[in-house]
């Protein structure tokens, strides 16, 4: 019979100065498994302050307010579509029982890979605590979108940053994973997040023509509008209850959060009767669009748009088109058509 934790792990990881029961509870004095496992806590870091916080006090406290822990973005992103009664129902019936199950504990990133759709690919490195292992943690939860777009596995080309050896934590710093101590309602509100300009100063690029091009487009288009190289996943019916469909597309339209800016848009799959099975209607469905600004992690120095002005200025290739908006979608979608 093998053990969950090998002697090598016990000896090399300072976390094992503690005993198993310090985190997992149970009763080691009982020889029978059923008795020993009474009160066992399988995921101790679901309560970060009570476990990891014993030593990592500040980080654990901060983390309980972070979006990774609260999953608050899922709660508030859709809440504008409900009336007060619907929101209350959603918060208790859907968010707490479904969406919030996605919240990440400390252990989900530092001990084992997170459980996604009931599937757990196991410990990251035995039971050693690891600082980071993006391909087994970030890539699982963000594996439907972002990660495969970043690596080129979603039928595109690898992001230039990935090609140069950068992975998630190169740009997304610790404060974004653990939070900054503020309970945000969604990603859009987070104060410190990576920006292309942190590394790329368009005023000092080599060629004058490149400088000029960036200056002309700076207020009118996001970086991703021109530098996204591959089509990215657009989900159209994930929440319909009858299986998910998605297809690749690069869509350019008005930024719903920054009027006047052309940017890359992603279709978010909330349809009019998404919450019908839970008995929740969305009387304010049309108050929010179905497409939202996104930064596909599929960046290249050169794209068809950087090579040829006509792609946008003559052909309007990739531009959101009123005739191709999602059927029976939000009326607000029309505002995003450039």
């Amino acid at each position: 019979m093998g053990f969950v934790v090998s002697r090598d792990v016990l000896e090399s990881d300072p976390h094992f100065h503690l005993n198993c029961v310090d985190c997992h509870k149970g009763d080691p004095s009982k020889p029978a498994q059923a008795d020993a496992h009474k009160g066992l806590v399988t995921r101790p870091s679901d309560d970060p302050v009570a476990t990891c916080g014993q030593c990592h006090e500040e980080t654990a406290k901060t983390y309980t307010l972070s979006l990774h822990y609260t999953a608050s973005g899922m709660q508030h992103g859709v809440s504008g579509r409900f009336d007060a009664a619907g929101k209350k129902l959603f918060d208790t019936k859907v968010f707490e029982r479904s969406c919030r199950s996605c919240h990440a504990s400390c252990g989900d990133c530092h001990v084992q890979s997170p459980i996604v759709s009931g599937v757990n690919s196991g410990f990251l490195d035995g039971h050693r605590f690891v600082r980071k292992d993006e391909t087994k943690t970030c890539a699982l939860c963000h594996g439907g979108r972002v990660w495969p777009e970043f690596t080129g596995d979603y039928g595109g080309t690898p992001d230039v940053h990935y090609r140069k050896g950068m992975t998630c934590a190169t740009c997304h710093k610790e404060i974004q994973f653990h939070g900054d101590g503020t309970a945000y309602t969604g990603r859009k509100d987070v104060a410190v997040k990576p920006a292309c300009a942190d590394c790329h100063d368009t005023a000092t690029v080599a060629k004058d023509t490149t400088k000029e091009t960036h200056a002309v487009h700076a207020r009118k288009a996001s970086c991703s509008a021109c530098h996204t190289v591959s089509a990215y996943r657009q989900c159209s019916s994930c929440h319909l209850g009858s299986g998910a469909t998605s297809s690749p597309a690069l869509v350019l339209g008005e930024n719903p959060r920054k009027p006047g800016q052309l940017t890359t848009l992603r279709l978010i799959p909330t349809v009019r009767d998404t919450f019908k099975p839970a008995g929740i209607s969305m009387p304010n469905y049309d108050s929010l669009p179905n497409l939202w600004d996104t930064v596909p992690h599929s960046i290249a120095k050169r794209t068809d748009r950087t090579r040829d002005c006509n792609v946008c200025h003559q052909e309007y290739k990739y531009y959101l088109d009123a005739d191709h908006l999602p059927k029976d979608g939000s009326t607000r979608n029309l505002e995003l058509v450039p």
């Binding site: 993006e134 391909t135 690596t151 080129g152 039928g155 595109g156 080309t157 690898p158 230039v160 990935y162 090609r163 050896g165 992975t167 591959s230 290249a300 120095k301 050169r302």
Partner: protein, 291 residues
């Protein structure tokens, strides 16, 4: 006499790179270990970045993005300026001997896809580590972790057009050329097909030469065995030969063998492959026949 000299000169200039290479088409672990310190040898590791970071051959640089989806086709060659940047950033120059390292024998065709791209980009001395990184670690050789880089060069690609067959070229030569289909027998025969290929079966007259025959136990078969396989199918080394598969990866396996190892001079790889040609209304695939 003058005429003979001119003919010889013309032959010399037109001779494909296969004859000019200074390194075999495949190298083993011993060769690579012995040549790691040679500044002209550039080892490129084409596995996923996290696999590379977790362990790679000392001095090897990570190179990705050498094939890409474009215009509805799964695996296309990057634009000349992008490809030049990628290769120059890796420290490759026209005089380099480039060793391609994939994960293992199961990724053989991806190694040849990269190697073919480099040869198409105008590099003469390109070789593949037989068995890939798995063979290196199996031999207990030294590995290192993290990222490594080499001094960038100003390398600019100079495409060798004859190495790549386009759709138009295939359509024009469909009855004249020797067409080699490197997919599985099931696919060739029309029993099954990839979802992205529009027709069952194969291009009329194409010869089935599955890519899976090239390797055994993760390593490339001996040259004599590969020659026997080709001879048995009565393929003519002197005839214009167009190799294809479903999406331009497997095809490069036999392209590499025929062109770079066996010295055939008129072989091109059709990277649009069945994915593209099956959409062509004028090309009707045939099923349940062996030719």
């Amino acid at each position: 006499m003058k005429k003979a000299i001119l003919i010889l000169l013309a032959v010399a200039f037109l001779a494909p790179a296969a004859f000019a290479r200074d390194v075999d088409a495949f190298v083993g672990v011993q060769w690579l270990e012995a040549n790691l310190a040679n500044a002209a040898v550039v080892v490129i590791d084409v596995r996923k970045i996290d696999d590379y970071k977790a362990g790679h051959i000392p001095g090897a640089v990570s190179v990705l993005g050498l094939y890409m989806a474009k215009d509805g086709l799964s695996n296309e060659v990057p634009a000349a300026d992008d490809l030049s940047d990628i290769l120059a950033d890796a420290g490759i120059s026209a005089k380099s001997t480039v060793v391609v390292v994939e994960a293992d024998g199961a990724r053989f065709a991806w190694a040849t896809r990269v190697a073919w791209t480099l040869a198409y980009a105008g590099l003469t001395n390109v070789t593949i580590l037989d068995g890939g990184y798995a063979e290196w670690t199996k031999a207990g050789k030294a590995v290192t972790t993290g990222m490594e880089s080499r001094t960038a060069t100003d390398f600019k690609v100079k495409f060798v057009d004859s190495y790549l067959a386009t759709k138009d070229y295939l359509v024009k030569n469909i009855k004249k050329a020797q067409i080699v289909d490197t997919r599985t027998y099931d696919t060739y025969f029309g029993v099954t097909k990839q979802a992205f290929v529009e027709q069952f079966g194969h291009i009329p007259g194409a010869t089935a030469l599955p890519a899976a025959w090239i390797t055994v136990n993760g390593l490339v078969r001996p040259k004599a065995e590969l020659e026997d396989l080709v001879k048995a199918l009565k393929l003519n080394p002197k005839k214009d030969t167009i190799i294809h598969c479903d999406s331009g990866v497997l095809a490069t396996g036999w392209w590499w063998i025929l062109s770079q190892q066996l010295g055939w001079t008129k072989v091109s790889s059709y990277d649009g492959s069945a994915q593209e040609i099956s959409r062509e209304p004028g090309v009707k695939f045939v099923k349940a026949v062996w030719k």
